[in-house]
Amino acid sequence: MPASASRKTGLEQLSDDLAAAVERAAQTVVAVNGRPRIAASGVLWRAGVVVTAHHTLRREEDLTVTLADNRTVPATVAGRDGATDLAVLKLDAPGSAEFADGAVKVGHLVLQVGRTGSAGHSASLGLVGAIVGPWRTWRGGEIESLIQLDLAIHDGFSGSPLIDTSGKVVGLNTSGLGRGVALALALPVPVVNRVVDGLLAKGRIARGYLGVGLQAVEVPAALAAKFAPPARSGLIALTVDADGPAGRAGLQLGDVIVTVAGQPVADVRDLFALLGPERVGATVVLTGLRGGAPLELKVTVGERPTQ
């Protein structure tokens, strides 16, 4: 009982719509040849600008991009930000992606469209599982909102666009924000735009840096009272870069940081929140404990290295 072209069944219409959405979006999906073996995906985000996932770029020399028409053109890195796992490339190529007007909602059908070489594009279907945020990435990036997907993760799809069922881009897919956990995540378009603007302007997103490896610890009750308000927990220094900002200010291994710039830091995330771009170059006061005795240090905040 094949339906005639004029009267399609609902399922046939949906299937055709999905395939058409994929074909439409695929026009601006590229393969980024920046690592051995499988290429990563990228999106022609604006005219002459490709956005891809930072973690997939293993080299900056000899970068090429394979376009939808199978031409391979050279590309240069305009900027990259490990904290949000985004990289921006410049190249000579026509076209740019179409973006959806509204935001996606939990439960919406979405597709990933990837290109991992010269063998054409490929696609995955799933749905928006959750929209979370604001969220701080494990590398200290502040993300206003993040799309969590109910969708299978495939090789080479980091840097690919997340599209709606009309083929318009709603986000950028990356597996680089899950810290090794296989979570299908996508950065919404406004988040990507903000980072792309910053990277095109300056080549990087500056973030504050102390040069210490920290872990949250409980502060014993007897010592907690030394702080106002009393500090239940702080951050113990497990590694200290002697030449880093905190190391130069005299921070030592085993010191416990309890406040930074007057704000309590009970968790590493609290500290990240205090080390935004505006802190770079500023001097902040760290208070804490060394061997049970109060500690106070003045640290000039450095800039987090890109890697």
């Binding site: 609902g10 994929v22 054409g120 696609a123 299978a152």
Partner: protein
């Protein structure tokens, strides 16, 4: 308009009617097959291990099926089954990337289980025929079963999982094998 879920159930029923369960002569080798022409079943070569196999058609009849031909390289086998059941329609064109597809088979011995997903892409190996990759989960026992489009037309024969994707031998490759063998 018929609700999409009802439609999907109808397509699943049509594809299931053309799906068979294949048991090789060696213990523990079993999989699926698809009625390709009247009295002729296609399955994977790795499912059939002897000169014959036990085939259970969708109407519950058990047949002693004779092996007509096998191609280990393409992982295809052809069995003769005396059944009156009609074969399904075959898709003429290769499905588009993003199109909805359903796989029917007997994973873990479950008869006629259905999984749905989309066409992910096409893989063209250096040697051997092209492969359709579908974004859906195949389990042991799905081997040899049909991959079909939303009109219930067979687009390929499911073979294995490749990097988290279902790999199916396209219809035209199967058709060429059947032409040669039949």
């Amino acid at each position: 308009m018929i609700p999409i879920t009802t439609e999907l159930a109808g397509i699943a029923a049509r594809v299931r009617a053309a799906t068979v369960q294949v048991q090789g002569r060696r213990r523990g080798t079993w999989g699926s097959g698809v009625l390709w022409r009247p009295g002729v079943v296609v399955t994977n070569a790795h499912v059939v291990t002897g000169r014959s196999a036990r085939v259970e058609t969708a109407d519950g009849t058990v047949h002693d099926a004779r092996l007509l031909a096998t191609d280990e390289g393409q992982d295809l086998a052809l069995l003769a089954v005396s059944t009156e059941l009609p074969p399904p329609a075959l898709a003429r064109d290769e499905p588009r990337v993003g199109a909805l597809v359903v796989a029917v088979g007997n994973p873990l011995g479950l008869s006629g289980a259905v999984t749905a997903g989309i066409v992910h892409g096409r893989l063209t190996p250096r040697r051997g025929p092209p492969i359709i990759l579908a974004d859906l989960q195949l389990l042991p026992g799905n081997s040899g079963g049909p991959l079909a489009d939303v009109l219930g037309r067979v687009v390929g024969v499911n073979t294995m999982m490749v990097r988290g994707l279902a790999a199916a031998i396209p219809c035209e490759v199967v058709e060429r094998f059947v032409e040669r063998a039949a």
